[in-house]
């Protein structure tokens, strides 16, 4: 990999109706349909679909970890530029843990009757995981 002039990854974390976060990061961990993926500087260009999961972003020059829950979407990496797109993106601090648990239960109840429920269960689980990670 040629020496890049950018020192960090430039990250755009975008939901359908707003940009949730944009800035420099040193590392990103996400879960694609095939498994977890970690992105560091100089990563090969990749375009992958995410599963409803937790995305962790290690913010550059600090110990801060940005944790968000996504409901799917995709991740694209090219030239040290990372875009994470999902219809719904929530920062872990914004997630209400109790409410997420209630939603999970509700989704689990529907599991046998509704084929959207599986997606909802995964999303709810991701939200709970994200919320637990920061609390």
């Amino acid at each position: 990999m040629a020496e890049s002039t950018v020192e960090y990854l430039h990250v755009e974390l975008v939901a359908a109706d707003r940009t949730v976060w944009s800035g420099e990061a040193s590392m990103i961990i996400a879960r694609t349909l095939e498994g977890d993926i970690g992105v560091l500087r100089g990563h090969a260009p990749t375009l992958s679909l995410l599963s409803a999961s937790v995305v962790e972003i290690q913010i550059a020059d600090s110990d801060d970890l940005l944790v968000v829950a996504v409901d799917g979407g995709f991740l694209s990496v090219a030239n040290d530029r990372v875009s994470i797109l999902a219809e719904r993106v929530e920062r872990a601090e914004e997630i209400h843990l109790d409410q997420a648990r209630i939603e999970l239960e509700e989704a689990q109840r529907l599991l046998n009757s509704n084929n959207e429920a599986e997606q909802r269960v995964r999303h709810a689980e991701a939200r709970i995981r994200a919320a637990e990670k920061v609390s």
Binding site: V14, A16, R18, E34, P45, L49, A78, L85
Partner: protein, 304 residues
């Protein structure tokens, strides 16, 4: 004087309160329009990144996806018409509907039957009043659309499009009629073909000079495309809804501004007439008094 002074005063009063209402609506529309524009701007990065990703996949894989496949012999077309929920926005809704009629005319000329999908109470009312059939309608969000609504509309359209030809409810093309927000002064009704998707380098396409890197696709290019295209369609619909919302508010602001101006004009006119009536009344009173005094004086002179 056909109408008494009192009645003119009452008319001025009612016009004044009407003016207050239209003025308030104008101000509300003006403040909302900024929010609508901000929303449209906030949604732009998503659309841009999505377009980039779609064109990246399209460049490196052979795009053959049900959503991009042209039917050889298209027979039915779906038309999504995006109008407002409420009136008092000038010609906003009617010009969208007119554009939709024009499009329908053209499609019928090509020998296609049309299924209508409607967004906004005005379109629904228009179709119901003429007892024309439509497949589905969504209402209650025209001035502040959410992505969830766009997703709902998008999935309905995609389902209809993906059905096999001959199946019930199948369409071979999907068109959208919405109002493009050019500026505060001009909004134009626009018809676009949404499906089959042309993988277009749309408004937010990457520039030619920018070479797309050689992507690795996970799990595979086809699956990535599968995931991306429906989202792309929904984001296009969301974009249309946001544009329409901004246009609706701009149209309403303009309509309410001219209503306020007209009310002002009316008040001026009525005030003038009322003053005239008042003056005429005074003149009459004076001449009556003078007449009375003269009569008294005459009577006295006759007695003397």
């Amino acid at each position: 004087m056909a109408v008494s002074l009192r009645e003119y005063r009452a008319r001025i009063k009612s016009t004044e309160s009407m003016k207050k209402i239209t003025r308030a609506m104008e101000l509300i529309a003006a403040s909302r329009i900024i929010k609508a524009q901000q929303k449209a701007a906030a949604a732009a990065p998503y659309a841009r990144e999505l377009t980039r990703a779609v064109s990246a996949v399209a460049t490196f894989s052979n795009v053959d996806h049900p959503l991009t496949r042209e039917e050889e012999n298209p027979k039915r077309a779906a038309v999504l018409i995006i109008t407002s929920d409420r009136g008092l926005a000038g010609a906003y809704s009617s010009s969208v509907l007119k554009e939709a009629e024009r499009l329908s005319e053209r499609l019928r000329g090509e020998g296609k039957e049309i299924d209508y999908f409607l967004a906004g109470r005005k379109a629904e009312a228009y179709f119901k009043f003429r007892t024309r059939a439509f497949v589905e309608s969504w209402t209650g969000f025209s001035d502040q659309p959410t992505y969830d609504k766009a997703a709902e509309i998008g999935s309905a359209l995609i389902t209809a499009f993906l059905k096999e030809q001959g199946e019930d409810g199948d369409v071979d093309e999907v068109h959208v009629v919405y109002t493009r927000f050019r500026s505060m002064l001009t909004q134009e009704p626009t018809a676009i073909r949404l499906l089959p998707l042309e993988v277009i380098e749309g408004e937010a396409a990457p520039e030619d000079s920018e070479l797309l890197p050689l992507y690795e696709f996970e799990p595979s290019a086809a699956q990535v495309l599968d995931g991306l295209l429906p989202q792309y369609v929904q984001s296009r619909i969301f974009y249309s809804l946001l544009q329409s919302a901004a246009s609706e508010l701009a149209a309403r602001q303009k309509a309410m501004k001219s209503a306020t101006d007209n009310a002002e004009e009316l008040i001026k006119k009525f005030t003038r007439i009322a003053n005239q009536a008042r003056q005429a009344g005074i003149t009459q009173e004076i001449s009556e008094i003078v007449g009375g005094v003269n009569a008294l004086a005459d009577a006295q002179a006759a007695n003397d």
